[in-house]
């Protein structure tokens, strides 16, 4: 049987072997992994754990797992940066939720003053009441219907220092919420500047009313009662780049490997469609959410009523309408002084243009007239103002005031009028300047406060001389096309110790000639687009624009520009544009001409600026920061933003030298920095970052995506893409230790750089999916993150013998300019300071003048009073004994007085 079956059996065996062989081959052929490589098979419990972990992290993100070092903790460790310097430490998180802004589009400023008269400096943080943008869940899912909830404008009251010597702030809203009765709550909450003031905070902490669009404020005693009032400037609701007409235009590049250029059709860069606001004309809109209808953009004058119920919270009264200081323009800046020396405080308001119609990407750019409100208190005894800008020649109206209203267009061989702007056929503004900031300051030292106005591209910097308080004379030098800049903020002070002023006006900074910026905004034939933003950049080559910061010094009766003569000793992270290889070749002569490698011209975009004496050594240092959005956004944040620069003053007379000590003092405008690490670093963003887990100050890259030449030659710092969107900033001694602290406010945005950041998500059926970028240039939207306030506390200096200081409180109780706004002082014959209010973008300080004295205590003092008769303005005081580390009160009539008895 077996023999008979031998062949069939053998055949079957062969078939069996063949089949096995086939399976073996098939196993190999289908390329499954070796059995020894089959991963461990888990139990159901283990599977469930993995599933749970993945679900949790995919849907809920990484908040729980992230280990974010708090900056204050980091700062308390031993310094990794070898330096004798005592760095600042950052405590902004202690401000809590009201210290964070939800504002995405508009600026947020800060005003520092003593609101309740307790001797401690409080913070007023303006906010916008109607926000553009949609809410986002913790999982990063954007709502289809829910708008971002606005914060009320908030007064943070200084509660004194904690055990570590840091100031403790609490909001009026939270303080009221803890109270049992609400007797004065309505007046206390008027500070929120809501359309309809509320009488209590129920529900606790809630803010259900719509506030005005608060951009900034100044504190001053407008009614001469000794208490600091608030003048708040309000803007228009709007959003730029919504339509084809207002969209930014970028152009295809020519130099890529192995292919011809695309056609030269511009890409239109608009805001994400879910961020559109409609092109509502703020000039004509009225709003009816108040006690009575009002025009959008109405500013607010709140009189400080004192603390009527003695609960530590001041009460306020809105006297805007009665005082006639409302206006209805897109107001962004304000400065005050006694312009006519009549003994009361006047107001100058800088107006921009409804964001719907910003003309940066057009060849037209309108504006709105600025206001000069002359206080009639001295004349009439009534707190009313007379709007006199046009009469005084400072309204910024081009035709009426004969202002140059043109921009040079190389391609057209001449200048072109740009003031009249139509969008969709509609005239959208006035033929007027669009101004960000203004400063009233006696820059020519003739005892009359002069005026400097910072206008954006298309307009020149305006510099005016006060003529005996009766009018202003425009300095014609600045009518030149060279002064067409994107001027942002202004500060004026003596920086070289010659007892006369220097003026720093911030601008777009050096990026305007970068390979990256220019490559995208220039057509292939080398022409810039007709957008004013790029025309202005291009015009720098022929000295027909000025987009770097401007530095002027007063001598021989005039302001002389010293910008490219300044010298900066850079740190380990010099601005990218100090590297000539990052400059487009066609504009390289600008780099050399303007000394970008080692002067202020090489610095980045900034708002501000802030002058303060970091080490109390007797000279004022400079802090610069600012951005239109957070970094690493591929758009405005990368083009127009900076990492923060603290420039320590090392000037001598007429030689303006600075040393960049930003890292040493730990004041980079970058969150989560670990300065103790070598090299200093911060955690990488949770999305949109394809490198390692930390970004260090050493990490470098090339400019990518804008052509071969840029990639080949450029060299840029990764850390610069980690900056926050700084807007408002100010310096003041917040913990009352005699050293100037620094406060920087930031915008919110769908551009989080947090290690917890995620992509913006939406629900698509049951899935949660990421939202792509709105256009081919910018990066996809990320988590919506509020703009946290950075509150840097100055660590002081080790050798206090080199850091004497005094706080000076000037009192002119005979006038209504009670605290002598606009005064000039010279201490020890060598240090000159002015008490100015305004000029810094969206921010201001009102209070005692903190003056660093260096090695010598205060021995003598000269005060030039800002109000009243000029002949009596100068007062010289020799102290019986030197004064240091205390507040000195000087009364115009009585000389040095006891500060406790000095209040009115």
């Amino acid at each position: 049987m077996l023999k008979k079956l031998k062949i069939p059996l053998f055949s079957a065996f062969v078939i069996l072997i063949a089949v096995i062989g086939w399976f073996w081959a098939a196993r190999d052929a289908s390329f499954e992994i070796d059995p020894s490589e089959v991963p461990v098979v888990l139990t159901d419990v283990q599977k469930a754990k993995i599933q749970e972990r993945c679900e949790k992290t995919l849907l809920a993100g990484t908040n729980e797992s992230a280990d974010i070092p708090l900056a204050e903790n980091v700062a308390s460790k031993a310094s990794g940066v070898k330096s004798a310097i005592t760095p600042f430490h950052e405590i902004g998180r202690s401000l809590g939720r009201w210290g964070e802004s939800n504002q995405i589009i508009y600026p947020v400023g800060v005003t520092v003053f003593d609101a309740n008269g307790d001797g401690r400096l409080d913070l007023y943080m303006p906010e916008f009441g109607r926000l553009i943008g949609r809410a986002m869940s913790k999982e990063g899912v954007i709502s289809t219907t829910q708008p971002i909830k606005s914060h009320p404008s908030t007064l943070m009251l200084n509660q004194g220092n904690d055990e570590q010597g840091n100031p403790v702030y609490n909001s009026v809203q939270d303080l009221i919420a803890k109270q049992e009765d609400f007797n004065c709550a309505g007046k206390e909450l008027a500070i929120e500047d809501s359309f309809r003031p509320r009488n209590h905070t129920y529900p606790v902490g809630g803010h259900e009313l719509t506030s005005r669009q608060n951009n900034g404020a100044v504190a001053a005693d407008f009614n001469g009662d000794g208490k600091l009032d608030l003048y708040i400037v309000n803007g228009h609701y709007g959003q730029n780049a919504q339509s084809d007409e207002t969209a930014f235009r970028l152009y295809p590049l020519a130099d890529n490997i192995g292919r011809d250029a695309n056609d030269n059709e511009a890409y239109l860069i608009k805001v994400p469609s879910f961020m559109a606001a409609g092109e509502e004309d703020g000039l004509t809109v009225t709003l009816s959410l108040g006690e009575k209808e009002e025009r959008e953009g109405r500013n607010t004058l709140l009189l400080n009523l004192g603390d009527l119920d003695l609960d530590g919270i001041p009460e306020w009264q809105d006297v805007t309408e009665a005082a006639n200081v409302g206006g209805h323009w897109d107001s962004v800046g304000v400065t005050v002084a006694d312009i006519d020396r009549d003994g009361d405080i006047d107001i100058y308001v800088a107006n921009f243009l409804d964001a719907d119609f910003h003309g940066f990407s057009m060849s037209r750019f309108a504006g709105n007239r600025n206001q000069l409100y002359l206080n009639q208190l001295a004349e009439t005894g009534e707190l009313t103002f007379k709007e006199s800008a046009l009469d005084y020649g400072v309204a910024g109206l081009h035709k009426e005031e004969g202002l140059p209203s043109s921009v040079y267009f190389d391609r057209l061989g001449g200048s072109v009028e740009i003031g009249e702007q139509r969008v969709g056929g509609k005239l959208v503004g006035e033929v007027a300047d669009h101004s960000w900031a203004a400063q009233l300051v006696d820059w020519n030292d003739d005892l009359w406060p002069d005026l400097i106005v910072a206008n954006d591209v298309g307009n020149r910097l305006r510099v005016y001389k006060n003529i005996q308080g009766q009018s202003f004379e425009r300095i014609k030098t600045y009518d030149e096309e060279y002064w067409n800049g994107c001027w942002m903020g202004i500060q004026t002070a003596d920086l070289d110790g010659d007892l006369s002023d220097e003026v720093l006006v911030t601008s777009c900074g050096s990026q305007f000639i970068s390979l990256r910026y220019v490559a995208m905004t220039f057509k292939q034939n080398g022409d810039p687009t007709e957008a004013l933003g790029s025309i202005s950049g291009s015009n720098a080559k022929d000295n027909k624009s000025h987009l770097s910061h401007a530095f002027m010094s007063f001598s021989d009766g005039v302001l002389k520009e010293k910008t490219s003569a300044t010298k900066i000793e850079h740190s380990v992270i010099p601005p990218d544009m100090t590297n000539v290889n990052n400059v487009i070749p066609q504009l390289r002569h600008v780099y050399h001409r303007d000394n970008m490698g080692s002067s202020i011209t090489g610095l980045e975009f900034a708002w501000g600026p802030v002058f303060f004496d970091v080490e109390n050594d007797g000279d004022l240092d400079i802090y610069l920061a600012g951005a239109l959005a957070r970094g690493n956004d591929g758009g405005a944040g990368d083009q127009l933003g900076g990492p923060g620069r603290l420039l320590i003053n090392e000037s001598v007379v007429n030689e303006f030298n600075f040393r960049d000590k930003t890292i040493d003092y730990r004041v980079l405008d970058i969150d989560l920095m670990d300065y103790d690490h070598v090299p200093p670093r911060r955690p990488s963003p949770g999305t949109g970052w394809h490198k390692r887990d930390y970004v260090t100050v050493e990490d470098m890259d090339a400019i990518s995506g804008v052509g071969l030449y840029a990639s080949e030659t450029s060299q840029i710092h990764d850390i610069f893409r980690m900056h926050e969107a700084a807007v408002g900033m100010v310096s003041a001694d917040l913990n009352n230790d005699g050293y100037a602290d620094l406060l920087v406010r930031h915008k919110a945005g769908y551009d989080s750089l947090s290690p917890n950041a995620k992509n913006m998500k939406i629900k698509v059926g049951p899935l949660t999916m990421a939202v792509p970028a709105p256009n081919k240039i910018v990066k996809p939207p990320r988590s919506l993150e509020a703009g946290r306030t950075f509150l840097y506390i100055n660590g002081g200096v080790a050798d206090e013998d080199k850091a004497h200081w005094v706080k000076l409180r000037l009192l002119d109780i005979e006038s209504n300019n009670h605290y002598a706004v606009g005064a000039k002082v010279i201490v020890n014959g060598s240090i000159m300071r002015r008490y100015t209010v305004g000029g810094i973008s969206f921010s201001s300080y009102a209070g005692d003048m903190l003056i660093g004295l260096g090695k010598e205590p205060l021995k003598d003092l000269e005060v030039v009073w800002p109000s009243g008769n000029q002949k009596d303005a100068r007062q010289i005081i020799s102290l019986e004994s030197p004064v240091s580390r205390e507040t000195l009160c000087v009364d115009r009539k009585m000389g040095v007085v006891d500060c406790k008895r000095a209040h009115k």
């Binding site: 062989g21 052929a29 993945c54 070598v678 090299p679 999305t687 394809h690 470098m700 995506g705 792509p772």
Partner: protein, 548 residues
């Protein structure tokens, strides 16, 4: 099992490990065989018939006999999903995923010319008329296939075979820009009407909606790391993945490409054997074919990097995997919470989510990798590279190149890293070794950078995980030990220059270990000098997204 035990096991159970790579050629008399084996031959014929029948039935799953130029099905629904329905993937998923027109292009035709060494891929919807087509045009096959970038002899050696295998099981991918033509490298292109130039999402009735016809910012092709011939096709928009498909490349095409690119003569059978995933190997490294030694520059102790965080990553772009907790750490079988590596001890285990056929992350399987900090000595040698991608004009090797040998505490194991150009060891950027082997390319790279890397970049480096015995190094399969990449970065601290060496895990999920060596003054000075003038090379920085 500890690393050392695993190595020992490999060596003990494989006394003749080389035979795993190369089949022996034996001479034989065919007539004699025929005469003696009539019945056997008869049965073999029967077996062939049976196999043909089986193939007819199951042919589509038999990659090895798929012919060229016939459409291959693209599978785009292979990912594991979580209970929520979310795909388990390391990639960000765009709202356009599952909505893209690309999902309808489920056929791919591949052709390869051994003469030009170029691949062409055509994705199509399979219609005969008005078919929608997306072309991957003229992709240099060297950019994707295993390479032997050094002088090889006529007959493949065991070392060559070992290198091919290491390269095969590394993920090697390319991303392409949308261009009709490029003179130097491949691109993707589509017939009219496939894509539109609208926004990447639509905004209608207050809703954000997918745009199914959106033109991808990049499409990619990837030689998957799991098995020879399994490739992936992928498309991305600005935020993430909008399409992902898997395709089995015809074996004849794939093998032809490998043969052409390496100028080797092998049968499919031998090549299949060479490329087969092997465990338990130890191949004597022939380093003299890769470099000319100039002698040892430095012999120093290594130390663990201080303060290294668990879940950290180097430049391998693993942010999403660590965010999504693609790993846990266990000690004695129990999950163990640790924030820094200093809290770990030898024998703790990284349990990584497994990457399984056909190239997806598993929601049920893990890959354990044992934490092993016992590496404490390094030698640094000067070398002259003998490797090349045909980029002999490279300027990056003008300065010295280095070879690092990192020894385990008992010196029975070593990691050999070589042909590292000093000119690219700088403070500003990581030097990446994206895979073990010689000249193995990275998991994903823009084609323009790969073109630049291989035409003017540095000479190919090498990296091997080895058993060390009596001065000789025997290469093992690094994948067995969960080790996939190495990153090098000098750092300056307290006036000294340290070289930081980061070992990266299986699937590039997270860093496994970070070591540091203080460099002697000579090297330190050179690195400082190089760093001063360093500029990101084009092969690292250039990108042409074709959008500007």
């Amino acid at each position: 099992m500890m690393w050392q035990q695993m190595i020992d096991s490999v060596l003990n159970k494989n006394s003749n490990v080389m035979s795993k790579f190369i089949s022996k050629n034996e001479s034989f008399d065919i007539k004699e065989i025929l005469a003696r084996n009539k019945i056997v031959i008869f049965n073999v014929l029967i077996a062939i018939v049976v196999m043909v029948l089986l193939i007819v039935n199951f042919g589509s799953s038999l990659v090895m006999i798929v012919e060229s130029n016939l459409p291959i099905k693209v599978d785009y629904k292979k990912e594991y999903t979580l209970d929520s329905g979310q795909p388990l993937t390391g990639n960000t998923q765009s709202l356009n995923r599952y909505h893209s027109v690309l999902n309808s292009l489920d056929n791919v035709i591949v052709d390869f010319s051994p003469k030009s060494k170029l691949f062409n891929f055509t994705l199509t919807d399979g219609k005969k008329e008005n078919a929608k087509k997306v072309f991957y045009k003229e992709i240099d096959s060297r950019f994707l296939t295993p390479l032997l970038p050094y002088n090889i002899s006529q007959e493949i050696t065991e070392f060559d075979a070992y290198n091919l295998m290491l390269a095969e099981y590394a993920r090697v991918g390319l991303t392409l820009s949308y261009q009709e033509n490029n003179k130097h490298f491949g691109s993707f292109w589509a017939t009219e009407g496939v894509f539109n130039k609208g926004g990447e999402y639509l905004f209608q009735d207050n809703e954000i909606l997918p745009n199914s016809g959106i033109l991808p910012t990049r499409m990619s092709i990837t030689n998957n790391c799991l098995s020879p011939g399994l490739w992936e096709i992928n498309a991305k928009d600005s935020v993430g993945e909008m399409f992902h498909g898997w395709v089995d490349l015809p074996r004849d095409i794939y093998f032809d490409a490998i043969r052409a690119n390496n100028n080797i003569v092998t049968t499919d059978w031998d090549l299949l054997k060479i490329l087969k995933y092997k465990t338990g190997i130890a191949v004597l490294l022939d380093l003299d074919t890769l470099r000319k030694s100039k002698g040892i520059i430095q012999d120093s102790k290594l130390q663990l990097a201080d303060g290294k965080k668990i879940g950290s990553y180097s430049s391998q772009d693993s942010r999403r995997k660590t965010q999504k907790n693609f790993f846990t750490i266990t000690r004695d079988g129990e999950e163990f919470e640790a924030k820094e590596f200093s809290e770990l001890k030898a024998g703790d285990t990284f349990e990584l989510i497994a990457f399984v056929p056909p190239g997806v992350y598993s929601s049920t399987k893990i890959e354990p990798v044992i934490y092993d900090p016992n590496w404490n000595r390094v030698t640094i040698k000067g070398v002259s590279p003998l490797t090349s991608y045909e980029n002999n004009e490279s300027k990056y090797n003008d300065l010295e190149s280095l070879e690092l040998v990192i020894y385990s505490s008992d010196e029975s194991r070593a990691i050999v890293l070589g042909n590292i150009p000093l000119s690219l060891l700088v403070f500003q950027e990581d030097y990446a070794i994206p895979a073990f082997g010689v000249g193995v390319l990275s998991a994903s790279e823009n084609i323009e950078r790969r073109y630049l890397r291989m035409s003017e970049g540095p000479k190919p480096h090498y990296a091997y995980l080895t058993h060390h015995k009596e001065g000789k190094f025997y290469g093992v399969n690094n994948h067995e030990f969960g080790m996939e990449q190495v990153y090098l970065r000098p750092v300056e601290r307290d006036g000294k220059v340290f070289l930081r060496i980061t070992l990266v895990s299986y699937e590039r999920i997270t860093d496994l270990l970070e070591l540091e060596v203080a460099l002697d003054a000579g090297l330190a000075t050179k690195i400082k000098e190089v760093s001063k003038t360093y500029r990101t090379p084009l092969f690292r920085g250039y990108i042409d997204n074709n959008i500007l």
